[in-house]
């Protein structure tokens, strides 16, 4: 009996040793949306970097994107966005989350996100993302329901009319397991 348990333990050891794995962000499109009575604006960045480190069945993800990398098609607007979000003082937006390793096989996941932006930290609970896995790569899409108030950002205004508080961020990322 003891011998069987020992054999089983030894057989399981390689599995534990192989448990650590990493995810690397291959490509991404992050799009923020701003609503103004006269404008609907989208700012896009493809410059996010990300990594996920898995250990003991849990994966810690970190995604970082330079604030300056968001392009709305209007340099004046982008500079104004950089100013109101204090992007020169806090040049990187970071998103952290922890997910179970098994989540990679799901179609839908709900993630708790911790976002650092504009010198503030905001947490978003149970944000829904869709997963599509194909050829060793996993595509994650979803929308983070961010608001200006969450990051203590004064709503920018045009012609004395302020933009809406809601600035949803669409996420489209492709991760590769290594």
């Amino acid at each position: 009996m003891h011998k069987k348990i020992l054999i089983a333990l030894f057989a399981a050891l390689p599995a534990f040793a192989l448990a650590d794995s990493q995810w690397v962000l291959k490509q991404s499109t992050l799009t923020y949306h701003v609503s103004h009575p006269l404008h609907q604006t989208d700012g896009v960045s493809h410059e996010a970097r990300g990594k996920g480190v898995c250990h003991a069945g849990q994966c810690d993800f970190l995604i970082a994107v330079p604030v300056k990398s968001f392009d709305s098609g209007d340099s004046n607007r982008d500079l104004h966005m950089l100013q109101v979000t204090r992007g020169a003082e806090f040049p990187i937006v970071t998103v952290r989350t922890r997910l179970p390793e098994s989540a990679a096989t799901s179609v839908t996941i709900y993630a708790d996100l911790e976002i650092q932006f504009a010198g503030q930290t905001a947490q978003y609970k149970q944000v829904q993302f869709r997963l599509e896995t194909q050829g060793g790569e996993t595509r994650i899409t979803g929308t983070i329901p961010a608001t200006l108030v969450d990051f203590k950002i004064d709503p920018p205004s045009l012609l004395t009319m302020p933009v809406k508080n809601e600035i949803p961020v669409r996420v489209d990322m492709t991760w590769q397991k290594q």
Partner: protein
């Protein structure tokens, strides 16, 4: 006796003057100072009491300390404006260092920060820390860091000087925007009153009104242009989008705003002499219309998405 009375009087007046002068100096100095305040909490959002905060002025090296209260709040009053390195230390938590906390003149800067629990000697979290651990990875020893993503400290470090430049730019362009809007009122009124100003009537009232509105438009336009021209440029920025059209229009309405009143003055003089407007002065009307049109197009280009 009389001498003593006047001496007392002079000393009294001098003393009061000195008091007011000193008070004003003190008020002026106080008014220039800033406030740095905020709340320190743990990763679950619970306040961290008795955390020590050290604010070091990046330029002068002047150090100020503060301690958080039971609600986790702290406050530095009367801080000279500038960039500060803010260090937060609390038992059981990792020391947090903010490299660039900018304190604005006469302003209040708020820094709410979360502290990460410190791992104990064995690398594990204490039971109390584990209880406070949210479903976030920042507390994990395996969590990747910004350097793992290949980001250098230069890329992640803030630049308070650039932020100050951006702030100044936005302040000036906001005034530019408002003044531009205000300018449209006398501009439209000038165009409307021009219909009577050039007529054959003997009275000069409508012409005078047109001149007055034109002068007001010119003055307001000058102020509007000043704030756009003097707004600081941000190095390394390539102009894209409607702002290019907005600026291109300035090459039309800018010279137009100079030429229109010159031609207008010539036309005004000719009319007042009982002459028919002739020569180059006849271009006053068309130049004014083109100028107003370019100004309107510039305004619309950054206001409405086409």
């Amino acid at each position: 006796m009389i001498m003593g009375f006047w001496l007392n009087r002079f000393c009294g007046v001098f003393g009061i003057s000195l008091y007011f002068a000193l008070s004003l100096c003190l008020v002026a100095q106080t008014a220039e100072m800033g406030v740095l305040r905020g709340k320190i909490s743990d990763s679950s959002g619970a306040p961290v009491a008795n955390a020590t905060l050290t604010a070091t002025n990046a330029e002068t090296g002047q150090i100020r300390t503060a301690t958080t209260g039971t609600d986790g709040s702290y406050r530095f009053d009367q801080l000279p404006p500038g960039s500060y390195v803010l260090k937060v230390e609390a038992a059981g938590f990792k020391t947090l260092e903010i490299l660039s906390a900018t304190v604005a003149r006469n302003g209040t800067t708020t820094f709410d920060k979360k502290l990460e629990p410190e791992a104990n000697a064995g690398g594990n979290l204490t039971p109390a820390q584990q209880e406070n651990l949210p479903n976030a990875p920042s507390s994990s020893t395996t969590a990747p860091s910004l350097s793992d993503l290949g980001l250098s400290p230069e890329q992640t470090r803030g630049n308070p000087q650039e932020q100050a430049l951006l702030d100044k730019r936005t302040r000036m362009l906001k005034i530019h925007q408002r003044m531009g809007l205000i300018t449209t009122v006398p501009l439209i009124a000038s165009v409307v009153t021009s219909l009577n100003a050039g007529g054959k009537s003997e009275g000069t009232a409508s012409r005078d009104l047109h001149v007055a509105l034109g002068a007001l438009t010119g003055d307001l336009y000058g102020i509007t242009a000043y704030y756009a021209i003097r707004a600081p440029r941000i190095p390394g920025t390539n102009k894209r989008g409607p702002i290019k059209f907005h600026e291109a229009m300035a090459w039309i309405h800018g010279p137009g705003m100079i030429l229109t009143p010159i031609l207008g003055a010539m036309a005004f003089s000719q009319k007042n002499n009982g002459e028919k407007v002739h020569g180059i002065a006849r271009a006053h009307g068309p130049v004014a219309i083109v100028t107003a049109g370019a100004f309107g197009a510039a305004l619309l280009s950054v206001s409405v998405k086409f």
